[in-house]
């Protein structure tokens, strides 16, 4: 237990104080004796690895679950549990990762959903009043969206602002933002920070949950660390380096999570993939690059730069409408994932839940999903022993934390699921492996393991493409990286030239750099 009882009485300027909150799910303790307090008009970061108890804590605060023990003091009043209605009426509003807007309703109707203004004795909706209030709220946030637009037509950043405006309309006093920046690009994140700063000035408190420690440093007054469901510490942000935060999160001194960088392959290395002036229906325009055997090539860029579209084109999910693709020296035209897999291309999609896993299937079935018919069937019948032993092999190889291959996929943590996804693609023995955001939402240990896995693949001669929005990942892993902007390759960086500044210049186009890339130095660059 990290904190002795009893706690000092609630200070006057604290909005929220949590005392000894505990919660168990079917016997497993996910929160134990968590206590902390939050002052009015401050922003508090809540950090911790996956499974540290952040989501459960949030759910206790917004009334989705009831804590087993402990007290929540909000504005001086004590509650042993919240309900969703009570939390809302107190002004505790959660901005979830998945937005909850009614897509077919207008921004105005969304903002007033459940608390509509009425006129004529409550019979009719007061559209005029609602429109004006909605406009005022959006203006307060510096958001230029019209209240009459249909919510489904907004981009994610705008939807997030509408969610916040909706909270303000309910006289929100505490915003809980769950990883709000994961869906935003850096410009949008910057804007969100301005909004948070404005909210703070207006006396609203914010609990900001994030993996991104640099954001915690930038926006939060203080931060609280959870680890394994326990309160670890709460500190002022000023004077704490992100590195120290990371150490507090994992509970030990972090070693370097990246393997030593693999060198660029020699100029005469075999060319695995070469794209010439390739364009895709929606976004990708005139892309030319090549990739050698055993190379790790990064693709950096902002969200919407066409990186995923490019990868999906190579994998046959999308169609290239012009240009040529050469694979192992031969021109190929791939129109479906089946053809891609047959040719020897593997793709790890960015959205693990939606595209990477079948959550209801056992882990073993997920691992053999692609190669089932080819490797595990005789005369069309599944060899279940063979399948099971292959699954065991991969569970050991990737040190997946699972009792057996029979455990349901969605019962595993994100990191272990992702390892299962890697195993699935590895089982097809590809010669080109495309990773799209391979470590999104994954704890630090699994992340490191995945980096070492990618490096060992490349050492054995597999060509790897790593698409990532995490600049550190690109910098730490790739000896060469493309930077995409608006569907085109804005530049190519190598070795020492790969740094945050240059990548951001190329990705945003704000300040064009002298290009460090010289085609004659690049292996297999075609004229």
């Amino acid at each position: 237990m990290e904190r002795a009882l009893p706690l000092p009485p609630c200070e006057n300027d604290s909005l929220l104080e949590i005392r000894n909150l505990s919660k168990s799910y079917s016997g497993v303790r996910v929160l134990s004796n968590v206590s902390f307090s939050l002052k009015k008009g401050t922003v508090m970061g809540l950090i911790g690895e996956n499974g540290a108890g952040k989501s459960t804590l949030i759910k206790c605060l917004n009334g989705v679950v009831s804590p087993d023990e402990g007290t929540i003091l909000f504005d001086g009043k004590a509650y042993t549990q919240m309900t969703i209605q009570k939390a809302l009426s107190l002004g505790i509003v959660t901005i979830p990762q998945e937005f909850t807007l009614a897509e077919h309703l207008s921004v105005r109707d969304n903002i007033f959903l459940g608390c509509e203004s009425k006129k004529a004795g409550g019979l009719f909706l007061d559209h005029g009043k609602m429109r004006n209030t909605a406009r005022e709220l959006l203006e307060r946030l510096g958001c230029s969206v019209s209240p009459d637009v249909i919510a489904g037509e907004l981009n994610v950043a705008q939807k997030q602002m509408v969610e916040i405006a909706r909270g303000l309309n309910r006289r929100c006093r505490l915003f809980i933002m769950d990883e709000p920046s994961t869906v935003l690009n850096s410009a949008e994140t910057e804007k969100l920070f301005q909004v948070i700063a404005r909210l703070r000035e207006q006396g609203v408190s914010v609990i900001y949950v994030s993996h991104k420690l640099r954001e915690i440093s930038a926006i939060c007054d203080a931060f609280t660390v959870l680890r394994d469901g326990k309160y670890i510490t709460a500190r002022e942000t000023a004077g704490t380096a992100p590195r120290e935060m990371a150490n507090l999160m994992v509970g030990r001194e972090l070693k370097d999570i990246y393997p030593p960088k693999i060198p660029l392959p020699p100029p005469d290395a075999e060319c695995i993939l070469s794209l010439q002036d390739v364009s895709e229906e929606t976004l990708v325009k005139n892309v030319t690059f090549s990739l050698a055997k055993g190379e790790i090539l990064g693709i950096a860029g902002l969200g919407g730069a066409g990186r995923t579209e490019l990868a999906e084109g190579i994998y046959g999910i999308r169609r290239f409408v012009s240009g040529k693709v050469f694979f192992k020296g031969k021109e190929i035209r791939i129109t479906s994932p089946e053809e891609a897999v047959k040719a020897g291309i593997a793709y790890i999609p960015e959205d693990r839940q939606k595209s990477g896993t079948v959550g209801e299937f056992p882990l073993a079935w997920n691992i053999t999903l692609v190669s089932l018919a080819e490797k595990y069937c005789r005369m069309g019948f599944i060899g279940e022993k063979k399948e099971e032993s292959a699954a065991e092999k991969y569970i050991a190889k990737f040190s997946i934390k699972a009792p057996s291959g029979r455990i349901r996929m969605n019962e595993l943590s994100g990191g272990n699921q992702q390892k299962g996804v890697l195993a699935k693609s590895l089982d097809t023995a590809p010669s080109l492996f495309i990773f799209d955001e391979p470590t999104r939402g994954i704890d630090i240990n699994s992340r490191s393991e995945i980096y070492f896995f990618i490096r060992s693949l490349a050492e054995k001669g597999t060509a790897c493409i790593v698409i990532s929005s995490d600049l550190e990942e690109i910098i730490g892993l790739c000896p060469r990286t493309l930077v995409m902007r608006e569907g085109r390759i804005a530049g190519v960086l190598e070795n020492d030239h790969i740094n945050e500044k240059e990548i951001m210049y190329l990705a945003t186009g704000i300040q064009q750099q002298e290009n460090s890339w010289n085609p004659s130095q690049t292996p297999n660059a075609r004229p």
């Binding site: 209801e360 089932l372 699935k424």
Partner: protein
């Protein structure tokens, strides 16, 4: 290999949860057998299996379609048009043996074609399965009315009738066919790559596409199976009476088939289900109808009981997914 249900729950609870339809079947059978002497006569039990065979075969195909995330409302109409087509062709052929061959093959081909058309609409036309098969439900029924002049088509081929009514080892042909198809489809669903892919598509179609599964082909295949089942059922249906009514044959079979699949534990949202469960569901529905007759329950209230059973089955299913 079965997925682990829930490691934290006691083994008995897991066993009960996994075998709900079979337990319900045994309880129902026992209760009816004890309470009614006519019900428990072997002849009656055999009759039940024959009565449910045709809609049961349709339910087997329906199980594949629903697990893959679709629905097929046209199975009953397809049965009618396949049966009408079969009998009409048979009547055109002189040789009685050849005619019986035609009466077997023609419904099968019509069934396969009708199923393929459904599959085509859903996979290539990208029409939601409910709408597509609602359309073909009307089309197939209308075709059967047209070819039969909205009446009954009969044959006078005695061999045909004999085949339809033949009894092997005390068990009528339709029951045999139902059980044989159930065994074959059970193996296909559980032990082949195709079956696994059907479950994967129903569970997460997008992930299946990224996993290089031929989503369209497999989905198409489920409708073809459903059509095949309608064809087989049409043959059994028409041969038993040596005639088929274009208006009544297969009427509301789609509802019985869907109900049987759901009572048997198939998830309406796809991804989960078993042939054994569907067989249990078919038998449960058959036993209920039969027992109500034995107890002299008002005929018009039979639908009420059936509906209640379906609702309870779905209630249990949704409660299970919530937990």
């Amino acid at each position: 290999m079965e997925p682990l249900t829930d490691a934290k729950r006691p083994a008995l609870k897991n066993f009960l949860a996994r075998n709900r339809p079979f337990i319900a079947l045994v309880v129902l059978l026992t209760a009816c057998a004890i309470s009614n002497e006519y019900f428990r006569s072997p002849q009656n039990l055999v009759n039940i299996t024959r009565q449910v065979a045709c809609s049961g075969i349709a339910a087997l195909g329906m199980t594949f379609v629903i697990i893959a995330g679709g629905i097929d409302l046209s199975v009953g109409s397809l049965l009618a048009v396949a049966g009408v087509g079969g009998v009409l062709c048979m009547n055109e052929i002189g040789s009685p043996y050849l005619a019986v061959g035609a009466a077997f093959l023609v419904p099968l081909l019509i069934g396969l074609a009708g199923g393929a058309f459904n599959g085509f609409l859903v996979t290539v036309g990208k029409i939601p399965s409910f709408i597509a098969t609602l359309g073909t439900l009307s089309i197939y029924r209308s075709l059967s009315l047209y070819f039969a002049n909205a009446g009954t088509v009969s044959s006078s081929n005695e061999i045909f009738r004999e085949v339809g009514n033949c009894v092997l080892l005390g068990i009528p042909l339709p029951t045999w066919v139902f059980l044989a198809l159930a065994a074959v489809f059970g193996i296909i669903l559980k032990h082949t790559a195709f079956g696994r892919h059907v479950c994967a598509i129903g569970s997460n179609e997008n992930a299946s596409r990224y996993a290089a599964i031929r989503v369209r082909m497999v989905t198409f295949g489920t409708y073809v199976i459903a059509g095949f089942c309608s064809g087989v059922a049409a043959f059994l249906f028409s041969s038993r009476l040596n005639s088929i009514s274009s208006t009544n044959a297969g009427l509301s079979y789609e509802l019985d088939a869907i109900a049987a699949a759901i009572i048997g534990g198939t998830s309406m949202s796809g991804g989960k289900g078993s042939i054994a469960g569907t067989v249990a569901g078919v038998l449960i529905l058959g036993i209920i109808s039969n027992a109500l007759v034995m107890w002299n329950a008002p005929v018009n209230l039979q639908g009420l009981v059936k509906g209640a059973v379906i609702i309870v089955a779905v209630l249990i299913q949704t409660r299970r997914t919530k937990n």
